[in-house]
């Protein structure tokens, strides 16, 4: 119901901007020691922000500002392949991971102590440090002396697939390792989202005959859609900068065919000894990254991330 003219609620709403304006004016009106103390408290934060955010970002942009770096980057035949790999990694890795996490979060909503115990085990991959995890994947998938292919030889006298030695299998292995590592985190996020959906909605839907898949399609999914979208955006942004998974699982191999932009940047900067070209590789992801950040910020600022 709308507030009637002259009611206390409307009066408070009218006064709010005025109060905010008053505070702003007060802040601008600081004088003498008050202003000095305000600046003194602000200065360390400003210095840290400059030293650890503005300066590194500015230095990076400056390193990658030469057109020659971009000419060299675009002339490198690996670059085009890397862009494709990055898009595949994002499209398959992020979406498959989040979709599976959404489904699994439904499973973990089930009652029973064993489900809770399973959830505890399920989140372990996310809890353990990332680098040893990916190195373990690398060793397990080694074609000659890895755990999987050794077992195949021991039990069946057959050579297993060259997991990391052909581009498609290697990229697939990277994506599987990535999903295994990060799916538990997003499952817990979606689980929290599901738990905040009121039970009454499901009961009402059940009265109307919506159970199982129909309940998921008409109740759960619409209510989770905003959360799912924001999680997809956030995960895409994080994954775009993911260096560890590719570096430690496939190493960008075989024959430099599974690099993504994050690992190519490091290769160009440090293996080729060309920091400008390395920064150019990273900066070339900005046309994708910046719109994602803008969309995410708009969604968050509109307060749409709610059930």
């Amino acid at each position: 119901m709308a507030a009637a003219p002259g009611t206390p609620a409307l009066a408070a709403a009218r006064e709010a901007p005025a109060r905010r304006g008053g505070r702003l004016r007060a802040a601008h009106g600081l004088k003498g020691s008050e202003l000095s103390w305000a600046l003194a408290f602000l200065l360390p934060y400003a210095a840290v922000f400059f030293a650890f955010v503005l300066y590194p970002v500015g230095y990076g942009l400056w390193l990658g500002s030469s057109p020659a770096s971009y000419r060299a980057l675009f002339a490198d035949p690996i670059y085009a392949e890397t862009v494709v790999n990055t898009l595949v990694y994002l499209a398959v890795g992020v979406n498959l991971k989040l979709f599976l996490a959404l489904l699994l979060s439904g499973f973990f909503m089930r009652p029973g102590w064993w489900v809770k115990a399973l959830l505890l085990i399920f989140v372990l991959p996310w809890a353990v440090p990332a680098i040893p995890t990916f190195i373990s994947f690398h060793w397990m998938l080694n074609g000659q002396w890895g755990l999987i292919n050794n077992a195949l030889w021991t039990f069946f006298r057959m050579d297993g697939p060259p997991w990391l030695d052909t581009p498609h299998l290697a990229m697939g292995s990277v994506i599987v390792a990535y999903i295994w590592k990060w799916m538990p985190f997003w499952t817990v996020i979606f689980l929290a989202g599901r738990m905040s959906i009121p039970r009454e909605l499901y009961e009402a839907a059940e009265v109307d005959g919506a159970t199982g898949l129909r309940s998921f399609l008409h109740v759960t999914f619409p209510l989770m859609a905003n959360l799912y979208t924001v999680c997809t955006l956030l995960s895409t942004i994080w994954t775009l900068g993911d260096f560890n998974t590719v570096h430690f699982v496939s190493g960008g191999g075989p024959a430099l065919q599974t690099h993504v932009l994050a690992t190519l940047g490091i290769r160009d900067a440090f293996e080729l000894g060309d920091p400008g070209m390395g920064m150019a590789a990273v900066i070339s992801a900005l046309p994708l990254l910046v719109p994602l950040v803008i969309i995410l910020m708009r969604r968050l600022s509109k307060g749409e991330v709610q059930l």
Binding site: Q144, P162, A255, A269
Partner: protein, 457 residues
Amino acid sequence: MKSLSWRPFVVAACLVGTALLSTPANAAGQTVTVWWNQGFYPAEDQAMKDVIAAWEKQTGNKVDLTFYNGSDLPAKIVSAITTGEVPDLCYVDNGDFLLLGQNAWNDKIVDVSDVVDTQKSQYSQTAVTAARLYDNVTKKRSFFGVPLKQQALHYFVWRPMIEAAGYKVEDIPKTWEAYFDFFEGVQKKLRAKGQRVYGLGYSLATKDSDSTYLFNQFLVAYGGAGLVTPDGKLHADDPKVREAAIRALTKLTTPFKEGFVPPGAINWGDPDNNSAFYAKQIVMTPNATLSIPVAQMEKTDQYMHEIVTQSGPLGPDGKPTTSLVSVKLAFIPKGAKNVDGAKDFLKYLIQPKVIDAYLVAARGRWLPVMPSLAKEDPFWTDPKDPHRAVATHQELDGPTMPWFQAFNPAYADVNAEQVWGKAEANVMTGGMTPEKAVDQALAQIKTDFAKYPVPAE
């Protein structure tokens, strides 16, 4: 109006100043900061620590020594040179392959002629040539690295595996084609007995330096030594060079496609052929330095009897193969705060007795760059040692040549870009013919050389 108080600013300045200046300070001129490649085993690191301790005791100076993993150190050095926050002295095993030539070209390295001159007469010609790099700013060739040690490609064989296949080590042929074919035969026999092994442990990857070393050594063996001449000129259009490259590429990739090389070799880093060899999954592997046997020195049976070191077969032309020798160089980046201290330490380190003691304490994995050491110290030619004498004879008595990047830094770019590794992959997994892969590689090499127009001396 209330006057502005300065006290808060003083407090803030102190806080910020404390944060910014809380890093430990070095005593200027007294401490030499050294970044050194971590050894393959603890004895290598201890050998360097001992040298440093002796120099510190003699001079009263201090060395701030940090060991870095060999895969990480080039990146660390590139960052340091880019930002200007450099150590006083650097040594990285792959420095000559990846970064020294380009940085000398760009005038980022200190001229160390005065250091090298103290022992110049002791050095082999290969070492002297490898250390003289071109500075494109000063337009002169000079010593930008101090030769410490060297490596060449040797061939390591498991004696028990040869014997399990019904052969003796003496049965291994001495001629080029027959030598490598022999190990394919060994694999067939061992596989027939149910063993999951491969005859040839070739590194065929696009990372680190082993695969680069192997391809270029084969290129030289097939007559491609003229790809880059000592005047720094590229001869990519020389039909002899192209033919040698095609034959080298064919010889290395055909066994891979036929299943005589582990499929994972397409992804091997430098330690991986060592690991595969220790796991007895490969019968023979080519490897630069004596790291494979030396790391097993405590296992007397393996070191003395089971691992066999060979200098390889005669070349395809029936003559002894010229060994590509990689000379390992220490260098001082420009911007170093204590150049004099670093030079003083290097002068101490390259004294024949000191460098010999260092290399001996490191168990002889690397060979000396001073031929006199091999003659005067029986350690290097001890006939009771089954590995060192072979390597010493190959590297210091046999025909050798420095790597191409010593003639022109463009070849370090070629190495870093893994141009030949990519050519191998194009043939092995991309379905390309060796001819096309070589032509593509040579085109890339021409592009790289166009960036480094070294004038003739």
